[in-house]
């Protein structure tokens, strides 16, 4: 896939939706502006409902990271992971992946600055950034928006998928780029 093609998609996707949906609605005799306002009203209440859940989660994650506990955990597993071809520079990124999207983007950017985007570490950081989502953030705001407090098995599922995604990223990057 060429860069120009991807660029075109990402530049056109939102204008396209903003044109097509109201247009089709209008043609199907929907009072488009009134319908828009009616739907938009829910935006405020939904966003406000998330606040307590997000405060709880972000405080815990931020304390974990700022205190150096995240680094300590990363050092602790380093001995194990370095044997299977995982560069130790990438570990903090793997640990933060399910916890914070903005932190991971910052870390990936930093790694690419230091090691170059075309080094194994730079490529691995890119692939990990593009693979799986910020599990905790998504669970917190999605469940929070409807007042669900008991997540049952969904954390186990999400975290297992994150670990799998990490292993698969390391495998494919070592295979293609080493």
């Amino acid at each position: 896939m060429s860069l120009a093609f991807l660029d075109t998609i990402s530049r056109w996707a939102i204008p396209f939706l903003l044109l097509v949906i109201p247009l089709v609605g209008f043609l199907r005799k929907v009072p488009v502006y009134e319908a828009f306002v009616e739907g938009a009203e829910e935006g405020f209440t939904t966003a406000v409902k998330i606040i307590p859940f997000l405060v709880g989660m972000m405080v815990a994650i931020s304390v974990f990271r700022a205190s150096g506990a995240m680094e300590a955990l990363s050092h602790a597993v380093e001995a194990l992971t370095s044997r299977v071809g995982i560069p130790s520079e990438i570990l903090p990124l793997a640990i933060m992946r399910p916890l914070s999207g903005s932190a991971v983007l910052g870390m990936a950017t930093e790694l690419m600055k230091t090691h170059g985007p075309d080094s194994l570490i730079g490529r691995l950081a890119s692939v990990m950034q593009g693979t799986t989502d910020t599990t905790f953030f998504v669970l917190t705001i999605y469940f929070g928006s409807v007042g669900i407090k008991k997540y049952r098995y969904s954390i186990v599922t999400g975290l297992t998928a994150d670990v799998t995604g990490f292993i698969a990223s390391v495998y494919i990057c070592n295979l293609l780029f080493k």
Binding site: V37, A47, S67, P117, Y142, T160, G165
Partner: protein, 197 residues
């Protein structure tokens, strides 16, 4: 589960900070991230209002239900507890498509809408339903066909081939997603967490 993880994140952070002799880091991190969380939510308000408004038009025009009907064969298997043609289906599909296209800011409002519909089917319980768990399993491991942000970062550091990571991303996500869906299915059917009918 969540209670334990939450406590572990907090407690391990405070203990490590105490050992390193800089507990004041904890205070600063806690206060500033609490403020940051509210800012994230406030930033969300406008985006949510925009996309929930657009979604309401799509719903009234019958487009959401149309998409749901189109994808019925696949979705029915993943979500056996959602009645066919239910608006939850349409919202789930819109969310997953937005995710795949890398439209993060549209994906979130569609996802909230899907959760609201699923919560209605769940009888307003404070416990997650099976359909919600499946939805989030797919959502958090979802393939992004256009990882625009990271491509942008690679371009800014003058990568020789900024998009070469798209293929590996799709591979790694496909593996993660397969595991997520399989595990979710197992939990739903056989685990101690399943709901006995």
């Amino acid at each position: 589960m969540l209670n334990v993880i939450w406590l572990l994140l907090l407690a391990s952070g405070i203990i490590v900070a105490a050992i390193n002799g800089n507990v004041e880091v904890v205070t600063e991190a806690a206060l500033s991230s609490a403020r940051g969380a509210v800012k994230v939510c406030f930033d969300l308000i406008g985006i949510m209002a925009l996309w929930l408004g657009i979604m309401k038009i799509a719903e009234k025009a019958g487009m959401v239900q149309g998409i749901a009907r189109l994808m019925k064969p696949l979705i029915r298997r993943l979500f056996p507890t959602i009645p066919t043609d239910h608006p939850a289906m349409g919202a789930v599909i819109l969310n997953l498509s937005a995710n795949m296209l890398g439209l993060g800011n549209a994906a979130t409002p569609f996802g909230m809408k899907a959760m609201q519909e699923l919560q209605r089917l769940n009888g307003d319980s404070d416990e997650a339903s099976e359909a919600m768990c499946t939805f989030l399993a797919i959502n958090t491991s979802c393939i992004t066909l256009v990882p625009a942000t990271i491509i942008g970062v690679r371009v800014s550091f003058a990568s020789a081939n900024p998009t070469e990571i798209v293929g590996p991303c799709i591979f790694a996500t496909a593996v993660a997603m397969t595991i997520a869906i399989t595990l979710d299915y197992w939990f739903r059917r056989y685990s101690p967490w399943r709901r006995i009918p």
